[in-house]
């Protein structure tokens, strides 16, 4: 029988081929077991179907139309919740890009911000034409206090979001921004400003699609 040391070495070898440095900690040890996004479940099931039909290229993510073999829902690690700003609410967003291995080629980064009001959103507001005014900035230097904070931002998006009873979402292609975040000392995150309406619950994810060329050989070869 193999010794525990042999088994550990074998496991490390296989985990490293999966792109993992060690065995991830068990789900039941996590403070909040992360919800699996329904879009990922759909992609997982459709990849199973395509595999059975043998018409899939495992190095292409058909749902996004880009090359890739890894899809990550990177969760927001921005500090604190929504805080009042001079004319609404402000939230810091931060996505840890070090989860990508250097060998991986980033082919898509898509920000998904979902606003939930739930029962807080009154029927009066819903029936009105009011929307939520959303502005997204990229922070280009460490966030400073006061007036400097405004000058250290670059506008990425400004739009009005129509109110929906359950939730509503904003998506934005951030591929080039996320690629620049991979360089050391370049990732200061984003700032999301919400004007006019108060108290939506904000959930943000950065969907990253990447290709590990070492693990994704072309079918033609």
């Amino acid at each position: 029988a193999p010794s525990p040391g042999d088994l550990n070495a074998q496991e490390r070898l296989f985990l490293s081929s999966l792109g993992l440095s060690s065995r991830p900690r068990p789900a039941d040890s996590r403070p909040q077991r992360r919800h699996v996004p329904s879009a990922l479940w759909r992609m997982f099931r459709s990849s199973e179907h395509r595999k059975k039909a043998q018409d899939s290229d495992p190095c292409t993510v058909a749902e996004y139309g880009v090359k890739g073999n890894i899809i990550r829902y990177v969760q927001d690690q921005g500090e604190g919740g929504e805080v009042p700003s001079w004319n609404g609410l402000e939230k810091q967003l931060f996505f840890n890009m070090s989860v990508l291995q250097p060998v991986e080629q980033l082919t898509l980064a898509r920000l998904e911000v979902r606003f939930h009001w739930g029962p807080l959103l009154s029927s009066e507001l819903l029936s009105s034409d009011r929307g939520l005014s959303v502005t997204l900035y990229r922070v280009i230097r460490a966030t400073l206090k006061g007036a400097d904070r405004q000058t250290n931002r670059r506008l990425l998006l400004s739009q009005s979001v129509q109110l929906q009873p359950e939730s509503t979402a904003v998506t934005l292609d951030l591929t080039s921004v996320a690629e620049s975040w991979r360089k050391p000392g370049r990732n200061y995150g984003l700032v999301l400003e919400m004007l006019d309406l108060s108290l939506p619950l904000v959930q943000s994810s950065l969907v990253l699609v990447s290709l590990n060329p070492e693990q994704c050989r072309s079918r033609q070869r």
Binding site: L18, V36, S47, C216
Partner: protein, 115 residues
Amino acid sequence: RSAVHLPVSPSNVCRARRLYIDFKDVGWQDWIIAPQGYMANYCHGECPFPLSETLNGTNHAILQTLVHSLDPQGTPQPCCVPIRLSPISMLYYDNNDNVVLRHYQDMVVDECGCR
């Protein structure tokens, strides 16, 4: 030297055998979200002389079986190995609690051959 023909029953001939890998058996059920296991299969069996076309032998393997039949002690039979594999997708939590869907090539043995 004359070739030695050893009888090989069809059940001993190189081919893919069923193997279901249950991630619970390797203690990975806590971080792999799906699938819980999959049909990985494996190759097993002999590569006897003469190699039939169904055994997908290379020219080298055909010659090796011939030499093996003449000198069973000095030259082994070719190996029964995977010649066609297919990918699977796995959904799991990484160490940063992100949910990851990853496509892995060469995880399922579809076909075996003598090489």
